[in-house]
């Protein structure tokens, strides 16, 4: 069942200077859709427009049939959209537990403790570091905390902007495995990535953006095996 749908989305930081130029996307529950493309293609801008951090000039964004366009960024999590930015995605001065508590504050009081407990169970590394300042966490732990923060309100859609950036291959594999686990739980995952090979390995579908438009679309494994796509966007012929 389609959860998230983008139709003719045009978005950019300055009026009259669109970076995303008419993108159509749809995403079903339990699916991982990877958004790939060269630098400047508009991947991160699209993700930020989805989160309400970049103005939308035209087009529609609907989540479970309801438009998000008039929903301010701070209310989108209540409408079922969780977003993990690429950088500065944790509150470094707050402890791990406080990061989770900040995000859990939108839940009914009775549900907060159980959801924080569920996140700590899902990410055991965080449970061990719950009293530590988040700024002192390792790169992998930070990404886990950022994902836990976005998941705590049980969103229908989880969008992530390059969660593998700056992580070792082992940690990238761990983060992507966790995203697969999250998708299996029914969450629709939109993954913006530069690390194409690793992302395509876990993707159900992939979309390649070029200059703000969809250039290619297909199953993750198929794109990985497509010599044309591999040559243009994956740094050579796929193995």
């Amino acid at each position: 069942m389609t959860r998230l749908e983008l139709r003719g989305l045009v978005a950019g930081y300055e009026p009259g200077l669109p970076i995303v130029r008419g993108v159509d996307l749809s995403l079903a529950g339990g699916e991982i859709l990877v958004l790939l493309g060269p630098n400047g293609a508009g991947k991160s801008t699209l993700a930020k427009a989805l989160a309400g951090l970049v103005p939308v000039a035209a087009g529609t964004i609907t989540l479970d049939g309801a438009s998000l366009l008039d929903v301010p960024a701070h209310a989108r999590i209540r409408h079922g959209l969780g977003f993990v930015p690429q950088t500065h995605n944790i509150f470094a001065a707050l402890s791990v537990a406080e990061n989770l508590a900040v995000a859990a504050a939108i839940l009914p009081r009775a549900a907060r403790t159980s959801r924080i407990g569920a996140m700590l169970a899902m990410f055991p590394d965080l449970a061990a570091a719950r009293r530590r300042a988040a700024g002192l966490l390792s790169g992998g732990q930070r990404q886990m905390l950022a994902i836990a923060r976005a998941l705590i309100a049980s969103p229908a859609v989880l969008a992530l902007d390059e969660p593998s950036a700056g992580l070792s291959p082992k940690l990238v594999a761990m983060v992507l495995a966790k995203l697969r686990e999250i998708a299996v739980g029914g969450v629709a995952v939109l993954l913006v990535e530069q690390n194409a090979r690793a992302a395509l390995a876990v993707a159900d579908r992939a979309v390649i953006l070029v200059e703000g438009r969809v250039a290619h679309e297909g199953a993750g494994a198929a794109l990985l095996d497509d010599p044309h796509v591999a040559a243009l966007y994956l740094g050579g012929r796929a193995a």
Partner: protein, 297 residues
């Protein structure tokens, strides 16, 4: 003598710290130095004077120079000054935030400061006022160590308010949200926090604490239209010393400035008291510009 300097310094430092909390919170959230913040202390002090007069002339409490009407008036003045701060933000700063940059906001705060101070001077005149004409008798706490009951109560009340502020920031959803917005407003929005609500809470809390500082200053010294403006330099020094945006830093910075000012009187002369905050401020900017607790660029 050192004990006496500490008592005097901590009392005045606690008042400076209270005022500096609002200043540092406003800067942390809105990224501008509000030069009108001292006027909240002035307005709070004068509103409490009006309130204490309206609530009647009850007898002083124990060895204090004031009675229950001033205690009730303090709470009313804190609430009214919180409303004043919210009104100032709605009428002036919120509009400028949409279109202007930090410099525009700072200049606007200078204008607001002048207007608020002039309004008090227009209404009450330039002469000083006192909450009471009773003479505050000093109590002998230890050999060579004296303080008035007013000083001790003001110190205790200021410390209680600081502790309450610490608890608010570390133990409540509102406080955590304030810290989150201060650190990263965009991420806070993604976490479901409405920044406008947090900005309103910050103005209200900052205004209320400044009003308390003003009333405490009125109790231990006197009320003058320029009292808040003169408090501004120590407030900024405390906020910068502690690290702009850091509430524990503002509290500690206030205490350090208060003690330094009190120490300046016997060591260098009373005429240099006001210069001490400036010296400490300069020294801190040279040695550690981020302040004691400052972690952000």
């Amino acid at each position: 003598m050192i004990g006496q300097i500490l008592i005097d310094g901590i009392t005045s430092g606690a008042m400076i710290g209270l005022g500096a909390i609002g200043l540092t919170l406003t800067y942390g959230l809105l990224r501008f130095a509000n030069f009108a913040h001292g006027e909240f202390a002035t307005w709070g002090a004068y509103l409490a004077m009006l309130g204490a007069g309206a609530f009647g002339g009850a007898a002083p409490i124990g060895a204090l120079t004031f009675g229950w009407p001033l205690v009730v008036a303090l709470m009313v003045a804190m609430a009214l000054t919180a409303l004043l701060a919210l009104a100032l933000d709605a009428a002036l700063f919120r509009r400028l935030r949409r279109h202007g940059n930090a410099i525009v906001l700072v200049i606007a705060s200078f204008g607001a400061s002048l207007a608020l101070r002039s309004a008090i001077e227009f209404a009450f005149g330039p002469e000083p006022y006192y909450y009471t004409t009773d003479i505050a008798m000093t109590l002998r706490l230890a050999p060579g160590l004296r303080a008035t009951a007013d000083q001790l109560v003001v110190l205790a009340a200021a410390l209680v308010l600081m502790l309450a502020m610490h608890v608010l920031l570390t133990r409540t959803p509102l406080g955590r949200a304030m810290r989150a917005v201060s650190e990263n407003p965009d991420l806070a929005r993604l976490a479901g926090i409405d920044p406008a609500r947090i900005v309103r809470a910050t103005w209200a809390i900052g205004g209320a604490l400044a009003a308390a500082a003003g009333v405490f200053l009125g109790v231990t010294v006197q009320l003058r239209p320029s009292m808040g403006f003169e408090l501004l330099l120590p407030l900024f020094a405390a906020a910068i010393l502690g690290g702009v945006g850091s509430v524990p830093g503002a509290m500690l910075g206030g205490l350090v400035i208060g003690i330094a000012e009190a120490a300046a009187v016997p060591l260098a002369g009373a005429q240099y008291r006001a210069a001490v905050a400036f010296v400490v401020l300069l020294a801190m900017l040279l040695v550690r510009p981020r302040g004691l607790f400052g972690g952000r660029e």
